[in-house]
Amino acid sequence: MALWHGDRGLRGVDAVILPGGFSYGDYLRCGAIARFAPVMADLVPAARAGLPVLGICNGFQILCEAHLLPGALTRNAGLTFITRDVPLRVENAATAWTRAYSGGEQIVVPLKSGEGAFAADAGTLAGLEASGQVVISYAGDNPNGSAAAIAGVCNAEGTVVGLMPHPEHAVDPLTGPSADGLGFFASVLARVAA
């Protein structure tokens, strides 16, 4: 089911994915305008109340702008947009979106972004690592200069997850580098079906 940015109400959905893309062209800071979309007025309290939410790429940026997740996404260290199949490590396999994986598992998923460098102050970073809120990290070279090679984080409850790489492009080896991304979707389906 697609929720329209300009509508109110979540229409009884069990989970929400904020997809990637370029909301409002990202002419301003990525996600800075989208966080004010009318539908966000319902999404933010629902997420705080435990609704599983996955933000992918621009969706991750929107979740940070909406303060549902800590930190921010800044320009890649190379200053150019990059598309690359990157090896990732699942650091936390206990969130609503990663239970289908095992901790430490390595997967390959495409990364494609211009403002994908995760940034946060030292205290926040230390807190994230200590509390297991680093969900996914870059397992190979750090492709964009993300702090602590962080590719994805979650809220304290593990229900809201933000991810820079695109698992939806790793669901079939025909159209992606692997089917490794299926686990994110399998995780939440298992949860809402339970």
Binding site: T83, R84, D141
Partner: protein
């Protein structure tokens, strides 16, 4: 306060001089306008005619040559709409139709690389949208001056960032294209953008303003002063001589910068979704995109193709700059705009769809039965013309003459060039080619493009062609490739164009797709130079003859003239795009030799213990091909088979260019029958699942193809070459490919090749971690990768992390 130049005022001031020359019109053309109207044109009319009769919009120098595409087009049941529409439409079966086109944005991209290239993407996407299709992918064919020239360092990164910015934001995968360098493009880079769209058969839209009383609606961005005169002043004129303009090429560029448009890809995204919903709702009777010549072009073409009359109130055009007058409004090339013709009873629904997508829309006029295109401004008539007179434009038979220099060029036979005499020399030549800017790894560019978005990309660069899935249930898909080769075309524009067509055709075939249709972007110097006009005429004739011989029709294209610096034209550079249909993309093959596990305990390079692979001519050898003795069951190695005939052909070759800076002789001979047989064999072999890789042979010959296949799949190979190793490695004979035949399927493939009449020579097998040519050299993949990948980052800036080197 200026007085509006109305039709009445123009009639009363017949002798008032008009600035036609500044707008790019000749005295003869101006006289023709006066004769058509029976008076002098108003300022608005002059603006309108100047852009409509510009070379860019009117094809006045090329039209007489382009006619042969339609005249010699082979019978093809696949064509739903051909030349003359915004883009051709091809039936690919299962109720689907595909539309595709390639266009130039050369001059804007030189003046302002980022915005010039960005709006090139935007413009071609609207062409595809206007046919009723959903745009599904883009490609870019790019050519620049020498890779190490300072200005290339300005232009290339800007062009790439512009394409990246616009295409990624629009959500269209960039699935292929080209990147090449040559001094002839130093003051005039080529930025050609291709878009492809998919629709159902019934979705085809028309660019006609029909039905008196129907409303004319302009929607999308507002109209501003950007891009005024882009078609006439910028695209239809030559850049000055670099030497006379002082040190900074920027000086030349900045004077014309106001002619470049500025792109807003988010608005374009909204416009795409809005249009598709309008089409689905049956709310438009005619649609036209606004590109070159903006409102002038859209209104004239809609009117000329429809009932014939139209009334337009220019006061109702939404402006972003209130100071604009009628001439600027007509000439503005502000981006992200479309024009629709809508029945009066559907206008309200139309506007509601626009409002949903936050797209601004305004009713600016209506279709009339008067046969005149009339425009008003502040209550007075400022344009009153027969629309066909502007839409059809003049037709020129420009003088053409084969330049005498062609003879000297043809006589400079590359056979006289010193060749490597031993394995070490061959090795060095291969590495030199692989690291040369035109053949080096292009990740620096292509990593900036999103090739995944929309989720249907099956193959993308560096594979031979882009391959998209169209139907998930049946596996139906489309393959696309573009090719150009200025060196071949400089040597012989007729043969060169046919070689370019052949290569794009072969690239599509290498995925297992059947080539169906052709688009082209013909980049040439000034049509006022008889030598350039000869090149153009030869290229057009070559393309028409080649398409007829290959059985693929030209469905549309674009001509870009005036690509020169001072009096020095670029190499003639027709860029040809070929579209193919793939019956089942799940069976596609890419160029990469498969990354199969090394066979343990076989003495390292497994092939060694099993006896060196031997070159064998196929068919004819009893029993066809077999894998090396003892490996048939236990080894996952694929047999490498060279398809086609190799002749010593080095004219215009990458080897002569890179190793000797030499351009001379004759280009390779095209072979259309051989190309058709090869394509049919590849389609049959892929459909039968016999292949694990296929790669066409072109620039750099077999040597570069093998290296690319090894690097793409992270797997080495070992081959033994038939005949003279230098010729076998570096000749660029046409109609050839190299394939990896799955273990155990060699005999079946041998029979298939024989049945198709394609010469097939088993030359070795895949495996290991080096490219080994028996008796000549071995190059570890790590070394190949290092040489291949370091060139562009060294020239244009490091990338933060290098792609993983195959191990």
């Amino acid at each position: 306060m200026t007085v509006t130049d109305t039709v009445a005022w123009a009639a009363a001031t017949a002798g008032l001089p008009q600035p036609f020359a500044e707008l790019g019109l000749t005295a003869e053309e101006y006289e023709k306008i006066v004769a058509t109207l029976g008076r002098r044109p108003t300022g608005a009319e002059l603006a309108l005619y100047s852009v409509m009769w510009s070379e860019h919009c009117s094809y006045k120098s090329s039209k007489v040559h382009l006619r042969q595409f339609a005249a010699t087009a082979p019978p093809s049941g696949a064509l739903l709409a051909g030349i003359g529409h915004n883009a051709g439409v091809v039936d690919i079966g299962q109720g689907y139709a595909v539309t595709f086109k390639i266009e130039s944005h050369n001059h804007p991209s030189y003046v302002e690389p980022h915005q010039g290239a960005a709006t090139g993407v935007g413009g071609i996407v609207r062409d595809i949208l206007a046919m009723g299709a959903r745009p599904v992918a883009v490609m870019d064919a790019l050519r620049f001056g020498p890779a190490d020239a300072p200005d290339t360092g300005r232009v290339l990164p800007g062009v790439v960032s512009g394409i990246s910015f616009y295409g990624n934001c629009l959500g269209l995968p960039n699935i292929g294209g080209e990147l090449d360098f040559d001094p002839s493009y130093a003051g005039n880079p080529l930025v050609n953008a291709l878009c492809v769209g998919v629709m159902r058969h019934g979705d085809l839209q028309v660019a006609e303003g029909s039905g008196p009383g129907n409303k004319v609606i302009l929607f999308g961005s507002t109209t501003g002063p950007d891009g005024v005169g882009g078609a006439s002043v910028l695209a239809s004129a030559t850049f000055g001589d670099a030497a006379s303009d002082g040190p900074a090429s920027d000086d030349r560029a900045s004077a014309k910068r106001p002619s470049v448009q500025v792109g807003d890809p988010f608005t374009e995204k909204l416009l795409v979704e809005c249009c598709l919903e309008l089409f689905a709702g049956g709310l438009v009777t005619g649609i036209q995109d606004l590109g070159a010549a903006g409102v002038a072009c859209a209104t004239t073409e809609l009117a000329a193709a429809g009932t014939g009359g139209m009334l337009v109130r220019l006061d109702d055009v939404p402006l972003r700059d209130a100071s604009l007058g009628p001439p600027e409004i007509l000439m503005s090339e502000s981006q992200e705009r479309m024009m629709a013709v809508v029945e009066p009873g559907r206008v309200e629904e139309f506007l509601a769809v626009c409002a949903k997508w936050d797209v601004r829309a305004a009713v600016i006029g209506e279709v009339t039965g008067t046969g005149r295109l009339v425009m008003t401004w502040r209550g007075e008539t400022v344009v009153d013309i027969p629309p066909a007179s502007a839409a059809d434009g003049p037709v020129y038979h420009r003088p053409l003459a084969r330049p005498a220099s062609q003879d000297a060029l043809a006589a400079a036979d590359p056979a006289a060039l010193p060749r490597p005499v031993d394995g070490a020399g061959l090795r060095a030549d291969l590495l030199a080619l692989l690291g040369s800017p035109g053949l080096a790894d292009k990740s620096w560019v292509t990593d900036q493009y999103d090739r995944y978005v929309r989720g249907d990309t099956v193959l993308a660069m560096p594979d031979d062609a882009g391959l998209l899935r169209v139907d998930e249930a049946t596996g139906l898909g489309i393959a696309l490739a573009t090719d150009g080769n200025g060196r071949y075309c400089r040597l012989d524009p007729y043969l060169g164009t046919q070689l370019v067509l052949s290569e794009a055709y072969r690239n599509v075939a290498a995925t297992g797709a059947r080539p169906l249709a052709v688009t082209n972007c013909l980049n040439f110097g000034s049509p006022e130079d008889p030598a350039v006009m000869w090149q153009f005429a030869e290229a057009a004739r070559g393309l028409a003859d080649g398409c007829a011989a290959l059985g693929v029709p030209v469905t549309g294209g674009n001509v870009s003239f005036y690509n020169q610096t001072g009096t020095a034209p670029i190499h003639p550079t027709p860029v040809v795009g070929v579209l193919g249909v793939h019956d089942d993309v799940r069976r596609r093959v890419g160029i990469g030799f498969r990354n199969v596990p090394a066979v343990p305990s076989r003495g390292g390079q497994g092939g060694r213990g099993a006896g060196a692979p031997r070159a064998r001519e196929l068919p004819g050898g009893a029993g066809g091909m077999e894998s090396p003795r003892g490996e048939a069951k236990s080894s996952p190695r694929a047999s490498i088979v060279l398809l086609g005939r190799t002749e010593p052909e080095f004219g215009g070759s990458a080897w002569a260019h890179v190793r000797h800076g030499h351009l001379g002789g004759r280009p390779p001979a095209p072979g259309f029958d051989a190309e058709r047989r090869l394509a049919a064999l590849l389609a049959a072999a892929v459909a039968a699942g016999l292949l694990s890789a296929a790669h066409d042979l072109s620039d750099g010959g077999l040597a570069v193809a093998l290296a690319e296949s090894c690097l793409r799949g992270g797997t080495g190979c070992r081959v033994r070459l038939p005949g003279d190793p230098f010729t076998a490695l570096f000749s660029e004979s046409a109609a050839r490919a190299v394939v990896a035949v799955r273990a155990g399927r060699e005999t079946a493939f041998g029979h298939l090749a024989e049945a198709h009449g394609v010469p097939a020579t088993a030359i070795g097998s895949t495996g290991g971690d080096s490219l080994t040519v028996d008796g000549c050299f071995a190059i570890p993949l790590a070394e190949l990768a290092a040489v291949h990948t370091r060139t562009l980052p060294a020239l244009f800036g490091p990338v933060l992390s290098q792609p993983v080197v195959p191990s």
